[in-house]
Amino acid sequence: MVTQFGIKFAVHLITNHFGNLVAKVCENLFSHGSLTLDQLVRYSELTKDQVKNSLLVLVQHNCCQAFVSAPEDDDDDADRLRVRTQYLVLFDNIIHRLRFPKFLETVSRKLDEECVELLDGLLRDGRLTLKQMVDRASQGKENAVDTKVVREILSKLLTARLVERCPAPEPVVSTSFKETTTRKRGAKSAKIFEAPETLEQRVLEAAVPGNALRFSFTADMRSNVDGETNSDDDQITSVEENDAKEEEILWRANFEEFIRHIRHKALIENIRTQHDDGTATVLSAVLEATKTVEKKVKMENSVPLSLDTITAEVMKTDTGRTMTIDRIRASLSQLGCSQRMIVDDAYSIDLKKIIERAQNEEVESIVLKRYGRDAYRMFRLLSKDCCFHDTDQIAASTLVEKKEAPKLLYRLWKDNYLYMEKVIATGVKQTTILMWKVNKPLVWEHVLDEMYHAALNLSLRMAFEQEKDEELLNVPKDKLKEPGPLQKKYKRLLNVWLLLGSSLMKLDEALMLFHDF
């Protein structure tokens, strides 16, 4: 689900980070879908070299994925000869650029400063080999840092799955959507997967190396990232050869894992405010224990665990040590674990419900601020019931003046927050009854688009404020410390930046809530 302002915001981020040329290429990829190099040159009206370099930048920063469309049976010879490499822009990865501070914070919380430094390099440069990492670490230092040290840090990040091998540069992907199932090549070829919904998902799935390889160091498994391993045959690679190969492997930050971490954190914090610390501790322990078996980020339910396992996990934590089994059981019941799970001794927590609740709260708070308390009650009634209600019924259930109700409902409808249908009732007199409903998927998409719009505005305003007070940045620091109009202006600018910056970070959490979680 990429909305209009989502694209505008993504292009804005690319403009900010890489300039207008790259942004133009990026914009064309958004508006036309995946394109070949020649098509891009035609659409963007740039030179071939400019487009090529822009694409290289985008690929380097994981904002673009190349793929080769598989030849189809009915292709003629000319078709088979043409260049099939297409470029697909990755919206999510562009927006993730906004979250780099959050990713770094995650690493500093989970691991140590050295890891933060290494990850910082990866985020700044997009993709790095071990050798490049060593060079980076050695910069500005008298003695070069030993490869072993960097290797150690990298393997820490790999174990935590926060760093991964880069995906295959050009996977071959079938672009026809006739088949219902696709087969994955390599070791997993026997398994039949469900057909991915979009081309983007299909390309990403084809490009990602198998799990074993994705987080593994050994170059032994060949760096062609094709999911193939040369197990017993072939020549035995010498240690030197292995090392050389190892240095060629490209690494990058694993955004998926970071988003998982942030999602877990959001889930836990939501539960903490909704219930209590104990319940949050239980949820946190369950998520921590099952994070490696989670198949995707948007898990609807937590992986089932027995009460014994949960108790053991809870007791591992500092805050959980004080909890008795009874309290853990009560917390699980607060987390919505049913009688059925108690009987089966397999507790699974409805995570989707927690996310939906947080989404509801976000939208409702917008309605409250924009349309007032009466409208807020009406919206909540309709959003909870998920079915049509007529105007009078809504007014009666929400204790709103009968004459005011239609006006408020109309305003909400006009701004796309409500869905309305007219029903003609034929009785003694013919009357038109207005039926109202909250159509969640539509409202959510609309809200998300407005959020991207707001994020874009915050970012633009930040740039504007900086531009407005540009002269301040050229003033020597000592002068700014002296009291006077200059200092006042400088202080204002700092406050403005702080407010805009923190608002953008907070808004980004809401964006993730609606798009990534």
Binding site: I366, S397, E401, K402, H453
Partner: protein, 251 residues
């Protein structure tokens, strides 16, 4: 007066009074109707037949075919004799609506318990809300019956508050996000409530109303902007020229 024979027949005093007052009422009515003009009688019978629903003057004219002036005059006379009264109809406040004096307007006419004189009694609603909230806050968790009993005992209300009214208030408070509906687990705060019973719990820690924190979007100008649909990066309305931003960033 003494009614030994009546007592002997087993008729209580109250029943006697009732029957005599009934008789008198009928007599009065007969007396009054005797002095009514034809127009008045026709109108009165029509209004009376509508019972607690009453009737609009327009409908009276249509149904009786009486001329405008007679209807007006008769209504005035009937009102002065205290036989009919004017009531406010919530469906259409501008229309003159009459009802026989002995009936109380139905819910369709008044709009329900929360309406007085045809408009929503928000002060009363807020008062009941406050009382309910206070009750739930003090008891940590409370059931519907608990709130009802507490409000009756406390004697805050001069009028009788019905179970249905409390129910409506509690539902409105849930929609206000002031309280939440929870099922009793029988543990901790719930120890006084049987397991599985629906009860209510305050959302805010202070027991005050309207304490919710705004969300990320609602706390920035764009989140509440009425002009966001007209806002573009280079348009007349843009983040550069935005007056709401100006106000927000005024340190």
């Amino acid at each position: 007066m003494n009614y030994p024979h009546l007592t002997a027949l087993g008729l209580g005093m109250s029943q006697l009074q009732e029957s005599s007052s009934l008789k008198r009422k009928r007599q009065d009515l007969a007396l009054v109707s005797g002095s009514m003009t034809d127009g008045e009688r026709v109108l009165y019978n029509l209004i009376h037949s509508k019972k607690d629903m009453g009737i609009w003057t327009g409908d009276m004219k249509r149904q009786t075919n009486l001329p405008d002036s007679i209807v007006k005059k008769s209504l005035k006379l009937l009102q002065s004799k205290n036989l009919i009264k004017e009531v406010v109809n919530i469906q259409n406040k501008g229309r003159k609506h009459y009802m026989a004096a002995e009936f109380e307007p139905s819910k369709e006419i008044t709009g329900g318990d929360w309406y007085t004189q045809g408009s929503l009694d928000t002060d009363f609603i807020n008062l009941v809300k406050d009382v309910c909230l206070k009750c739930i806050f003090r008891q940590k968790v409370a059931t519907h019956d608990g709130v009802l009993e507490w409000s009756r005992k406390s004697g805050v209300f001069t009028v009788e508050v019905t179970a249905q009214q409390i129910d409506e208030i509690l539902r409105a408070l849930v929609l206000d996000d002031e309280i939440e509906e929870v099922k009793s687990t029988g543990l901790g705060d719930f120890s006084s409530v049987p397991v599985g019973r629906i009860c209510y719990r305050c959302k805010s820690k202070g027991g005050n109303r309207g304490e919710q924190k705004p969300g990320a979007m609602a706390s920035i100008p764009c989140g509440v902007c009425p002009r966001i649909n007209f806002c573009t990066p280079d348009g007349i309305i843009s983040p550069r020229t935005c007056v709401y931003y100006q106000k927000w960033l005024d340190f």
